[in-house]
Structure formats: C-alpha cells, structure tokens
Symmetry: C2
Subunit: 331 residues, 2 copies
C-alpha cells in the first residue's frame, strides 16, 4: 500500500498555483514497536500556511522545497504497536498533507469524543483558540464597545464576532461577498456587515455602521480595509493583527497611507500574536469555547472539500476567499 | 502693566510659520482673594504641540483660533493673595504661551527645590516621564536586548536611550545630524548612532549596527525610518509609538510600504500612549529619574532660546529638528 503526500514543489512569487505543490507516492513502512499508523480523515487548510511558503522570516521555519506541506489533521489509527493507542482511535496532530503517517505518539492528542472531529480542527481547535486569545487577551472587549472584524466570514473571524457578541459588544463584520455578509448577520449574530467587494467607500460604510467609533479591530486582512478602520478608532483602541491575507501574495510590500500617527492620537495598541504562546491556557479556553459551542451559542460553519487530491486547490481557493467558515479537506 | 501672550492665529496646512501665532497684549487684572500672579521663567516647546494645532481628532482638544497657545511653563510667583503661595515661589504649570498668568492655584505644583527648574520641565518632568513609561512600561527592555530610538537626540529620545543603557541594552540611535549622533554616543552612552540625513540606506545601517536584530523600537519620527526598522524586528518585539514628527505637517497621510505583516510574522506589539494615563505613578517614577539624574547617570542637555517673543520660532525650529536635547524658551 502506498502513501500519498503533497510536497512543496516550487516557491510561489504571488498566488500559489498548480505548480506550487506536487503529489508524491511512497510505500508505507512497516510499523516498529511503539509506533502507530494513522490515516487522515480531515485536513485543515489555513491562511497562515501561505507564510510558511515564504523564504526568510516568518513565525515558523519556512517549508523547504521537497518537504511534505505542513498542516493540522484529524486522523484515525489504522494499526497500533503503541501502548497508548488502538485501532480506530481518532487523534488530532500536525501531520501535514499526507494520507498516511507513521507516528511514535509524539505530538498526538486524542480527539475529544464529545465533540465532532471537524470541530476539533476548527472552533474547538487552533482556529477557535486563535479567535479566543486574539480577541479576549489582546483586545479585552467591554460591553457596549464597538468591535470591527475583517475577514469576518472566515473561520477565525466568524468566531471572533460571536465571542464579541457574547461579551456584549456591537459587532460589525467586513467580508468579501453578499452571501458572507448575510451569513454573519443572520446566523452568527453580527449587528451589521458589509461586502467590501461591492462597497466603494469603506470609510463611509464604517462611519454609518460604527456611529460611536471603533474600540476594537480584529484584523485578518490588512490593506485598504485597515486604512479605513484606523482613522475611526476611539481613544484607547485595541487592534489585534491576526492576519494580513490581502498582503501575503505580494512579492514586495504594497504602498498605502502611513497611519501610525493614529496610534499616537488614540494612544492605541496594535499587536500580532502567536496562538501557541498561550499553550498553557489552551485547556480552560477550550472548555469555555465548548461551553459556548455545544448549546449553539457559537455557530461553526464548515466548508468541506471532498478528496485528498484537492488539497492544493482547496488551499488556493481559501487564499482567494472562496470559503465561508472553516475550510477542511475530507481525505 | 500689560501681559503678552501668543494666541493661535491661523491653522497651518503644513509647517507652521510666522502667521500661525500672533502676539497680543492685554492688561493684567487685579488679583482677587485666593489668587496669585505668576510670571513665566521658562516655557517648554514640544513636538506634541503640533497635534494641538490640528482640527479634528487628537489626544486632546485642538487649540481654537484666538486661544492662547497651550504649553508647560515654569513660573515665579510675583504676588500672592493665595494662602498656599508667597512671592518668589516657583511653580510648574500648564499656563500656555503667556508672560503673566493669574491663577487660583488649581493645576499648579511647586517646583522641587533640589533640582534645577529647567529639569522640572524636561528630564524630571513630562519629558522624562514620557521616556520612562513609553520605554519601561510599553517595551519592558531586557538586558542584552537591542533598542533602537528614532529622534534620538531629542528631549525624549535622548533619555529613552540612556534609560535603556541603564537596563543593560544595546542602544542604537537615529538622529538628524552628525553633531546629534556624536552627542548621543559620546555623552549619552548610546552604543551606536547614525545620521539619517546623510545615510542613504537606513536598512543597511540598521543591519550593521543591530547584528542581533531589533527587540525594542522607540519611535518619535515615523516615515521611512520606521519602514527600515520594522522588517528587522525580532520575534516578540515591542514598539512604542511616542511620536511621528515626520508626518505631523502632512495635510494628508503620506504613502509608504504596508508593513503590518511584520507584526504578524514577529508577533510584535506596537503601541501609542498618553503619559497622563500613568499619572498615579508619576511620583515614584520621578524619584527614580531623579536618582539617575542627580549623580549624572542620565545627562540632560538643554537648548535654551532667549526671549519670550521667540516662542513661535523656537517651536517651528523644533519641528524642523534644530534642537539637540530639550528646547526651552527663557522668558
């Protein structure tokens, strides 16, 4: 039996394309004592992965050409010579883009049987934790404050907005489609939203939807959306820079208006973060997220692409904003 | 006897000029019971004042046309009908650009007789406190870290660098003149400095002077200097946005490269601040600053312009970077 994997084939200059990844097949090695064989069930595709394809600095080492592409996976134990696992156990692990993986148990955690396995890769996994710490820890939203979320119909953004609603905030989402804007307002409870693809004057839209100014900005996108938000922040505003997806495919930094004076004027804070810095607090955070999720106080929409072979196109589509909610590939 | 004051005459579009302020004379009113008459000795001119000349949002209400220009002053009591003051007491107060002021005692604090009165407007006043909290509270510099300061030969920047040295950091200053770069290295103990006016490649200069990258950036200037710093920040970097003097005279935001992705990549923090937010901690901070200043562990250079009538030109010169250290006007 062969394993299939996607390796990183060619460093993209702009948007990744069909030449960026290459599928390779290789025999699955025999298990040694203490090892187990895993088969991917769901693979997560996430915007941060674009950063791993860049040479040079990022928050993690870049993926090297020829290396299996990295990523979080829900997998089932096919066979186990490891004392801690038996066949059919489900685990969550950072196995990368491959159908099968041999593991010695390091870095695996058993999936919580009380939640859907897909949720463990999304709202009750790194996605939800990113929303949780990026909003609550960095921005500390207070009841009655106005929270603006860009990339609001994405996996992280949609959860950010829902947590902000639970905290009593007015929540305004910016998303790339009428269907997305409709979903976050009607299903996720955002107070308002606009589609940046059909809105010409973002500043005017924000002014209308945020009559008391903006206290918290959770940014997944950057670029002209951030340009419109910054001049409308209130004094003491907190800005979480979770992602800058509008910029990831630029070979050189795009030009935009210099707006750091707004941080002086509003004595505001702007912060990037690494979710794994909060690892010691993941347990209680996941409990709280689960407590919101199970009774339906937080909705988790999944956008599932069928077929392992569709990983590259699912990822590229994500970078282009095709997805609503959490995109996963079902292997 | 008449009072002389500078009122705000015309809102500047770019750099303030001779038409921005107008001197007015008016009779000094008779003192009532509970009042005292003050005569300015030294008046502080500071970059933040440019922000007060703008219409619209700033961290404080804008100065209105016809209003006496605001500012911190050291003044002597000429005559007192106030129980708390006698003639010749020296006070520090936010009296604005006028020679004489009648006060009911509100907002005055007596000058500390153990320090020079000019220091009370600088290193041991709001200037020093701005450096202290902007560096220590926002950036928390650790021994061995590299701290870059822009506007490094200014009143705040020169103190920031010296505090960072006391904390065991490598300190690199960026200043607008060879004399300034020379002063901060030879007198203030900065490890290195460069003159941005004669350096063509800021990024290369920083790379050479900060071989271990940049952990802390204290920014007074913004613009192309910040553009060069951001790509060289280390993971976990802290950036204090104290001022953006390169941008204050622009009618519209200047264009520059979008660099917020660096905050994602380096999970860095960038923060503006208002020194008066720290008011409850001014006492102990001033004690610590005094403990560094009196034995000469922190040098305070003063750039004193003679003559009340020279206030506008002293201020405009400050915005143009004429000063080294703390600029004051002697009335």
């Amino acid at each position: 039996m062969n394993n299939r994997a996607f390796v990183f084939a060619e460093r993209p200059q702009g948007m990744p394309d069909a030449s960026t990844f290459r599928m390779v097949e290789s025999p699955i090695p025999e298990l040694k004592e203490g090892e187990l064989l895993l088969r991917a069930i769901y693979l997560s595709v996430d915007p941060y992965m674009r950063g791993r394809l860049k040479q040079g600095r990022s928050y993690a080492a870049p993926v090297e050409i020829g290396q299996v592409m990295v990523g979080g996976v829900a997998a089932r134990v096919v066979e186990s010579k490891h004392a801690g696992y038996v066949a059919d156990d489900v685990v969550i692990a950072y196995l990368g883009w491959q159908e099968y993986a041999v593991s010695d148990g390091k870095g695996l955690r058993k999936a919580d049987p009380s939640i859907p396995v897909t949720a463990a890769l999304g709202v009750l996994g790194i996605t939800g934790l990113t929303a949780y710490f990026g909003l609550l820890d960095i921005c500390d939203p207070k009841p009655g404050e106005t929270v603006v979320v860009s990339g609001a119909a994405g996996a992280v953004g949609s959860i950010v907005g829902q947590i902000a609603k639970l905290k009593g905030c007015r929540v305004v989402g910016i998303a790339g489609g009428d269907d997305k804007a409709e979903w976050i307002t009607s299903e996720c409870g955002f107070d308002a939203a606009f589609n940046y693809k059909t809105t010409t004057d973002y500043a005017a839209a924000l002014k209308e939807l945020c009559p008391k100014g903006i206290d918290v900005y959770f940014d997944n996108v950057g670029g002209p959306i951030t340009d419109a938000v910054l001049p409308q922040i209130n004094t003491g505003a907190r800005i979480s820079i979770c992602g800058q997806i509008s910029q990831y495919n630029n070979a050189k930094p795009e030009m935009g208006p210099r707006l750091l004076s707004m941080l002086v004027v509003a004595w505001a804070k702007m912060q990037g973060f690494l979710v794994s810095d909060y690892a010691s607090r993941f347990g209680p955070a996941l409990e709280e997220l689960k407590g919101w999720y199970l009774p339906g106080r937080i909705r988790n929409r999944e956008d599932i692409v069928e077929g392992f072979e569709n990983l590259p196109s699912a990822f590229i589509g994500l970078l282009k904003g095709e997805n609503i909610g959490k995109r996963l590939v079902k292997a």
